[in-house]
């Protein structure tokens, strides 16, 4: 993990909205992170620990999928008004823009830390278990929402579909109930990922 010399996490804020970006940077600083504004093409120079992309600045979501990888180590977190289905395909993390600044900062911190310690990373466990990306989404939302109906609303699919995803993922995790599945998710570090999916 790349860190500021004083040990603080380095956040690069990418936004076309200058006033908002400056405000987000000072808000991060006030909460103990080192932060600065960066443009996509000079991200490499700033060597951030984590990149916060403002997906609400008029940049199209499609454009974000082609967003250049700044530094191999630095996760890219996108603030958005919607949580796109193809989250994992794009290799990006998405945070809903309804999130409080404090929660945003903890999510950025946990994103950076999760990448820094691959052994604790959730990616390994979920891949090993053979979950599809959609099953993972359902599981993450299940932990967060605690209710099949809310998961369905959240993901924009029917309750029946949620149940069917859950039925398919139970044997993969070798569990027999939603509670056990949720416990599995917590044990394997998907719980902190759940914060991202949450509002």
């Amino acid at each position: 993990m790349v860190e500021a010399t004083d040990g603080r996490l380095r956040v690069a804020v990418v936004s076309r909205h200058r006033a908002s970006a400056e405000a987000l940077v000072s808000a991060c600083e006030r909460r103990g992170l080192a932060a600065g504004i960066a443009r996509p093409h000079d991200l490499k120079l700033t060597e951030p620990t984590v990149v916060l992309v403002d997906g609400t600045d008029g940049t199209s979501i499609a454009g974000l999928f082609g967003f250049p990888d700044p530094v191999d180590a630095a996760p890219v977190v996108v603030l958005t008004t919607e949580l796109p289905d193809r989250t994992r395909q794009a290799g990006r993390r998405w945070l809903h823009v309804d999130m409080a600044m404090d929660d945003l900062v903890s999510a950025l911190t946990s994103s950076a830390e999760r990448d820094a310690t691959p052994s604790a990373s959730s990616a390994g466990a979920e891949l090993e278990a053979g979950l599809t990306s959609r099953e993972r989404d359902v599981l993450v939302e299940l932990v967060q929402q605690g209710d099949v109906g809310k998961v369905a609303v959240r993901l924009g699919i029917s309750e029946l579909t949620v149940r069917s995803h859950l039925r398919n993922l139970f044997p993969k995790l070798r569990v027999n109930s939603r509670a056990e599945a949720a416990a599995w998710a917590l044990r394997h570090g998907l719980a902190s990922a759940a914060r991202e999916g949450s509002v």
């Binding site: 400056e22 808000a27 600045d57 823009v97």
Partner: protein
């Protein structure tokens, strides 16, 4: 040193919180309230009586609704759009709905603070580089509106009636039966209306009426003929 009271209208929560924190470090501004949705902006403004309402780019589509609801207030606060689009068309739309100040996305917090003070003093604020396109756009729109209004004046009373029915969403058959005329006659009227208005479709004709806000004018023409 005077302190200007501002209301921050920003639906995006992290941005809202971050901007409130950033603005509160400036002694010349006091954030008296925030609003997270277009309909609550005027309510908050009525309650807290700010001098300036700062408009988030996320409200770009609702500038008209927000400004209209603010204009009904007494005293009526002034408005400043920040992080706004640098498209001349977007600026033109904003000015037309009554935005007092407009800062584009490249403008930082300090300029936003100064802008809010300027707007509170009663100044209008437009990026100097966009002033040319803005004036050209305003003149152009006015000229086009005047042209369209003149074309509308060329319609006969019967044609106005037909256009009025088009705006109501009636089709040819329905217009014919409403006016007690043959469908072919209705068709001829419609064709003539389109030709006189210099448009190519009924949709265009309807949209022209809507743009001119001339619906009532046509309605009166229709009512006069109702027995």
């Amino acid at each position: 040193v005077t302190t200007d009271r501002v209301l921050l209208a920003e639906p995006r929560r992290p941005h809202r919180e971050a901007l409130v924190e950033a603005l509160s470090t400036h002694p010349s501004l006091q954030v008296v309230a925030t609003a997270d949705a277009a309909p609550t902006v005027a309510l908050q403004a009525q309650r807290t009586r700010p001098q300036v309402v700062l408009l988030s780019p996320a409200f770009n589509g609702s500038f008209r609704a927000v400004c209209t609801s603010l204009q009904r207030l007494d005293p009526c606060p002034r408005t400043l759009a920040y992080d706004a689009s640098d498209e001349p068309g977007a600026l033109l739309d904003a000015i037309e709905v009554g935005v007092d100040g407009y800062l584009t996305a490249g403008t930082g917090i300090d300029a936003l603070v100064q802008g809010a003070q300027a707007v509170a003093r009663g100044e209008a604020l437009v990026p100097p580089t966009m002033l040319g396109p803005l004036l050209r756009g305003l003149i152009d729109r006015q000229r086009r509106a005047a042209g369209a209004a003149a074309r509308l004046d060329k319609l006969t009373r019967r044609e106005r009636e037909v256009l009025g029915h088009l705006v109501e969403g009636l089709d040819q058959q329905q217009i014919a039966s409403r006016l007690h005329i043959a469908p072919d006659t209705a068709r001829t009227h419609v064709q003539r209306v389109l030709r006189k208005l210099e448009v190519h479709s009924r949709l265009e004709a309807v949209s022209l009426v809507a743009r001119l806000d001339a619906v009532e004018q046509l309605g009166r023409a229709v009512e006069r003929n109702v027995p």
